[in-house]
Assembly symmetry: C2
Homo-oligomer: 330 residues x 2
C-alpha cells in the first residue's frame, strides 16, 4: 500500500486528538502529516509516531500542498468553508461535522454498513452522527436478514459528545459548580436536550438520528423516531433500540448473526450481569450489543441495548476507517 | 373527617421516612400513629408533628391494637408475611412492595388513574412500581381520549430507587470506591439492569412496568414493552415514552388535556430550555411531562418525556394518597 499525505483539521479538539491516537494504533501508512487548527493553537506541539509536529493555522492556502486526505473535526462552520476549498485542490475530505452529511452528493459512511458508498464520493465524505453510527452497525445486520419496518431510539449520551466543554461541565458540576456549556446542570441530572430545537419539537440530534439512519441504510422512507438524552457519564453513548421487522425472525439466529458480524461484540449473558455499559466500552473501537430480547408487543419485534465509545467508533475511528477504505481504492 | 390510627411498617427506610414527611405535609388526620421496623431499629426515636415516638419491633401482635390503616414499605418478604396478619385483624394495608401487586384480589392504585379501584379492596391495596406510576398518570389521560394501542418505555432511573444502598453506591462511586449494592459501578455509568433477570431476557423491573401498566389501565392485553436502566442520578426517575394510539389526535389538544389534569405539570416550552429533569422535579409530588411531540413514524404516535420523584409520587406520596381515598370512604 502506498503511503499517503494526511491533514488533520481541528487537531486540538477531543476528536482531533483521538484521530492522532487511532492513526498511530492502526499504523495508517502515512508519508507526511500536517496538523491544522485555529490561530489560537498555532505553534503548539503535537507528538505523532515518536516525532514532534507543530500545529499550523488553518487557512485556504494550506491545501496547496500535496495532501491526499484531510480528516476534518473542527465544527460545521469550518467544514462548510474549508471542505470545498480542500476538495477543489484535489484533497479528499473525510468530515466529522454534520454540515455535509445530508448533501445528496456526499456519501455518509459507516464502513461495516455501506463501505461501497465511499467510492461514489466527489471529494467529500461525511462521517455520521456518533449515536447513529453505533445503532446502524447492528441494525444493518438485522435489516438485511429481516427487513426493518420501524425503529424507536432512546439515547443515553455521554458528555464527551460535547467535547472538552461537556467534560468540564460534568467535572465541575460534581464539585457543585454551575454549568457553562449546557443550559442546565448535567451532574446528577438527565437533559432531554442535545443540540438545538427544530420545528416539530425535535432536537437537531434526534433529527440527525432519523435522517442519517435512513441515508446510511439506504431507505429514505424508513420509519424512525428518536429521543436523545444527555446523562452524567463521561464517555461512551448507550442507546435503547426498539425495532420492528417486516419478517419473522429466530432470536438465537439474530444473536448469532450479530456475534459473527465485523465490528460488533455481543455481550448478552444478562443473568451473569454481562451486558454493555459505558464503563466497560469506553476506550474500545467496537459496537457492543446486549439485552437482546424479543419484544412481545409486536409480531416481529426486538429490543437491544447498544453501547459504543462515541469519540472512537462514533467519530475518530469511523473516520479513519473511511480513510482506510479510500486507500484500498487507490 | 374522623381521625384515624395509622401504622408505618418500615419506618426507617427511605420510603418509610418519606411517609412521615408526606403525612405531616398533607396534615393527614391522625389520632394515633405507630412506627414499626426490624429488631435492629427498635427503640430509635422518630419525630412526627412535633412529638417524639419510639420505633417498635414489628411482630404479629402489634396489629392487635386499634389500627385503621398500615402503610407498608419494608420489602416483599415482610409484606408477604405481615400484610395478611394485619388484614385478618381488620387493618387495611397499603403496601408499597411488589409482592401483592398482581394478585387479582388486590387493587393496584394510582389515585389520578383508578381511584375507584380502592373501594374494591379486601384488606390489602398495592402501591405500584415507581416508574409505572409516573407513566400511567399522563397515559391514562391520553388513553381515555385516544385509546392507546402500544407503549414503548425506556427508563432513566435514579439510585434512590434502590434505597439508601443505591445512594451509597453512587456517592462512594464518585469518590472512586467500588459498589456494594449494584453488580457494577453506577458512578459515570449506565446499568441496563434493575431488579433480577427473568426468563425471556427481561428484568423484573421491566415486567413490572408491562404488567402493572396493564392492570392499572384496566387493559390486560395492552401492548407494552420496556427497557429499564439505572443512571447516575440521586433522585427522580425519567422515562422516554413512545405511544401509539388507535385514534387520531390533535397535538395541542393532547397537551392542553395533560395540562388540565390533576397531578400533572406540563413543562413543554422546549425552545426556552423548559423540560422536566430530575434536578428540577426531585422533592415534588407531581408528574412532570415535557418534550411532547408527534411521532411521525406512526399514523397516531406521540413521544413524551416524563419525570417524577420516585420516592414521593413513585412511592410515599402515592401511598398516602391511597390512604386519603380510604378516609373518604369511611
Amino acid at each position: 500500500m502506498n503511503k499517503v499525505n494526511i491533514a488533520i483539521v481541528g487537531a486540538t479538539g477531543m476528536v482531533g486528538t483521538t484521530f492522532i491516537k487511532v492513526l498511530e494504533e492502526r499504523q495508517f501508512p502515512i508519508e507526511n502529516i500536517y496538523f491544522f487548527a485555529s490561530a489560537k493553537s498555532k505553534g503548539q506541539k503535537i507528538s505523532f509516531m515518536g516525532a514532534e509536529y507543530e500545529i499550523e493555522e488553518l487557512t485556504e492556502s494550506v491545501f496547496d500542498r500535496d495532501i491526499d486526505i484531510a480528516l476534518f473535526s473542527a465544527g460545521g462552520d469550518i467544514s462548510k468553508k474549508f471542505a470545498p476549498i480542500a476538495k477543489a485542490k484535489g484533497v479528499v475530505v473525510v468530515d466529522n461535522s454534520s454540515f455535509w452529511r445530508m448533501d445528496p452528493d456526499v456519501p455518509l459512511v459507516v464502513p461495516e454498513v455501506n463501505a461501497s458508498d465511499v467510492y461514489n464520493h466527489n471529494g467529500i465524505i461525511a462521517n455520521p452522527n456518533c449515536s447513529t453510527i453505533q445503532c446502524v452497525v447492528p441494525l444493518k445486520v438485522l435489516d438485511d436478514a429481516y427487513k426493518i419496518k420501524r425503529i424507536v431510539y432512546s439515547t443515553y449520551q455521554a458528555v464527551s459528545g460535547s467535547g472538552m466543554k461537556g467534560i468540564r461541565d460534568l467535572e465541575q458540576g460534581l464539585l457543585g459548580n454551575p454549568p457553562t456549556n449546557y443550559p442546565h446542570p448535567i451532574a446528577n441530572n438527565c437533559l432531554p436536550h442535545i443540540d438545538v430545537f427544530m420545528t416539530g419539537g425535535y432536537t437537531k440530534e434526534e433529527m440527525k438520528m432519523i435522517d442519517e439512519t435512513r441515508k446510511i441504510l439506504g431507505n429514505p422512507t424508513l420509519k424512525v423516531t428518536a429521543t436523545a438524552v444527555r446523562v452524567p457519564v463521561m464517555n461512551a453513548h448507550s442507546v435503547s433500540i426498539n425495532v420492528e421487522f417486516e419478517n419473522a425472525f429466530d432470536l438465537d439466529d439474530a444473536i448469532d448473526m450479530l456475534s459473527k458480524s465485523p465490528g460488533i461484540i455481543v455481550m448478552n449473558d444478562s443473568p451473569a450481569n454481562d451486558y454493555p455499559m459505558p464503563l466497560n466500552v469506553s476506550g474500545t473501537d467496537e459496537v457492543y450489543v446486549g439485552r437482546i430480547r424479543r419484544d412481545e408487543s409486536l409480531d416481529h419485534g426486538l429490543n437491544l441495548w447498544v453501547v459504543a465509545d462515541n469519540i472512537r467508533k462514533g467519530a475518530a475511528t469511523n473516520t479513519v476507517q473511511i480513510a482506510e477504505l479510500l486507500l484500498q481504492s487507490r
